[in-house]
């Protein structure tokens, strides 16, 4: 479980996150919605260690993890994906996945000479793991394709795959659905649900697609202007006057459904 306590993140005069307290329950898929500029990505960045918060605390299962570096959080099983999918474009999909587990002896030049057997054994394990992930996500047809050549949606699947390589406990997804076609979005949704049900993953996702959220997320947290507006099930949230107002206030059309 992740707990955020009175978190502030200011950029000069901009209070991007302005006193947020909330918690993401273990084993659930929590949705984070809100109009553009609400501070959702910034909140993610602070939790994932990309920004040092101005003040406040982030706790993981009760332990203070505020301000830890991304790779330290990574070691604790916490991972984030990016609003714009990231990949090693000149490596293949399989190689991208195999890059994930940290601290393999093959990365040390000396070990490749003095301990070739151990290096080969680790390499074999990682390859087997990658193959399993590829099968789980049903992307075997592009496994040996350069990641740079994938479509936007496939890259998002690859991001999900990356989290599976280390059996992440908690995964933060920033707009997984953005720019992904319906079919792939369903595949993506299926994969997320299966990871939650079969492997006990905890997800927190920023998302704008209401159908996608309705299908996956419970509870849903709504942010506006750097603060939490309300939270509850998707139906409760949709019926909430404050939420409708917040979306109206941004000049967008009058319902969360209409927000892209």
């Amino acid at each position: 479980m992740i707990e955020v306590k009175d978190l502030h993140m200011h950029f000069g005069g901009i209070h991007a996150v302005d006193g947020v307290s909330l918690s993401f329950e273990g084993g659930r898929i929590t949705g984070l919605i809100g109009p553009n500029g609400a501070g959702k990505t910034t909140l993610f960045n602070v939790i994932a260690g990309l920004h040092q918060p101005t003040s406040g605390q982030v706790l993981l299962d009760g332990a203070d993890i505020t301000g830890l570096k991304p790779h330290e959080l990574f070691a604790k099983g916490m991972l984030r994906t990016f609003q714009i999918a990231q990949e090693f474009s000149t490596l293949t999909v399989r190689e991208n996945l195999m890059m994930v587990p940290a601290n393999q002896s093959g990365e040390r030049l000396l070990d490749t000479w003095i301990r070739p057997a151990q290096v080969a054994r680790e390499e074999e394990q990682v390859r087997a793991k990658a193959d399993e992930v590829i099968e789980f996500l049903e992307i075997s047809q592009v496994a040996d394709e350069l990641a740079g050549n994938l479509s936007g949606g496939q890259k998002k699947l690859l991001e999900l795959g990356r989290t599976m390589m280390v059996d992440a406990k908690i995964v933060f997804l920033d707009e997984v659905g953005a720019g992904v076609n319906r079919t792939l979005l369903n595949t993506l949704g299926d994969a997320i649900l299966r990871l939650q049900k079969e492997r006990g993953y905890t997800f927190c996702m920023i998302e704008h697609d209401m159908d996608f959220i309705s299908r996956l997320c419970d509870p849903v947290i709504v942010m506006a202007e750097g603060a939490v507006l309300t939270q509850g099930s998707i139906d409760e949230v949709k019926a909430n006057e404050l939420v409708i107002e917040a979306y109206l206030g941004t000049g967008l059309k009058n319902k969360p459904e209409a927000v892209s």
Binding site: A75, E95, M99, N103, Q104, E107, T112, R162
Partner: protein, 337 residues
């Protein structure tokens, strides 16, 4: 017909063979520059003087071996000394990184700051080399000088023109093939190599995936040291060793790396040969060649040389400027600079 064949042999002797050898030397040099650029993201101006340092170390060990009477004739003794030279250069570069570049990395300095730091490093290395071995020409090639001499070639084939093939040229080409094959195997097949490529490709994601940047940087310097020493030694065996010449080599080497696309190893190799052949063909005197191919009374009196060899570096410079104007990312689309 004989004229055509003779003129081909003539070109082989003065353009093809020297161009191949020089191209290989530039390619190995440019690979070092391009790797450092791909990983550390700055143009390392000290690379020419790193080559000089490495070659100097090889020469010193060669002299020692020669004094001990160790020899692998017909191959040059320098080949035996090469691993020791590489080792010395690795130590030098790792110390330089610890004393200079690491500080700027921690400061997250802009690439131009690194570049200027590397100019400083260049002057220091330059001073060290001149202090130890002096500014003069040093010859250290021993063993058999030729694989085949022009005279022998003529005798064997009965042609007018002979093609000479120096041991150093043969050695350069063979070494280049081995070095390039080994480097690409390393980058494409080993995990350490892949983590280097991953780091060069997407630094943020690499950090997030727990790739240790300091280790990647260390491996890069080790490779750069090996490449610089090999390139420098091959050049020295082929021509001669003079510290100032190695400083001058910086221009064609950078031109090669940039023409091919900075940060792209394949580009560095292609660039090396493009620059080498441009230089050799522009500075070659075509008088004899034309004499073979034109009617006798048309034969030119002048040397028919487009550019005196004194100005050969201008060739790299012109190509460099043209590439930067027309296609700054180079042929193989390296990182734009």
């Amino acid at each position: 017909m004989d004229g055509a064949l003779n003129s081909f042999l003539l070109l082989s002797n003065f353009v093809l063979v020297p161009g191949m050898a020089y191209g290989s030397q530039l390619a190995i040099g440019a690979l070092g520059v391009t790797l450092v650029y791909g990983i550390l993201r700055f143009s390392n101006f000290a690379h020419g003087d790193t080559m000089a340092f490495g070659t100097m170390a090889v020469i010193l060990v060669t002299w020692l071996l020669q004094a001990w009477g160790v020899s692998i004739s017909p191959l040059p003794t320098a080949l035996l000394a090469l691993p020791f030279g590489i080792l010395a250069t690795i130590v030098l570069l790792l110390l330089t990184d610890r004393w200079v570049y690491r500080f700027f990395r921690r400061e997250k300095a802009a690439p131009v700051v690194f570049l200027i730091a590397s100019v400083g490093v260049m002057f220091v290395m330059n001073g060290v080399v001149r202090f130890i071995i002096g500014p003069n020409d040093q010859r250290f090639a021993d063993g058999e000088r030729f694989i085949i001499k022009a005279r022998e070639f003529k005798r064997l084939t009965g042609m007018n023109e002979g093609v000479a093939f120096k041991t150093s040229q043969g050695l350069t080409i063979v070494t280049a093939v081995i070095v390039v094959a080994a480097l690409f195997w390393f980058l494409n097949r080993t995990r350490a190599g892949k983590s280097m490529r991953a780091y060069s490709d997407n630094e943020d994601l690499a950090l997030l995936s727990g790739i240790n940047p300091e280790r990647v940087v260390m491996i890069t310097w080790i490779l750069a040291a090996a490449l610089a020493t090999i390139a420098g030694t091959l050049y020295g065996l082929d021509k001669s060793f003079k510290p100032f010449t190695y400083f001058q080599l910086l221009l064609p080497i950078f031109a090669s790396a940039i023409v091919g696309g900075l940060g792209n190893p394949l580009g560095a190799i292609a660039g090396g040969f493009i620059i080498a052949f441009s230089e050799v063909t522009v500075t070659y005197a075509y008088k004899k060649f034309l004499a073979y191919n034109l009617p006798p009374d048309w034969a030119p009196d002048s040397l028919m040389q487009l550019l005196s060899t004194d100005y050969k570096f201008a060739v790299s410079f012109v190509i460099l400027v043209l590439v930067l104007l027309i296609r700054p990312t180079g042929i193989f689309r390296g990182k734009a600079i």
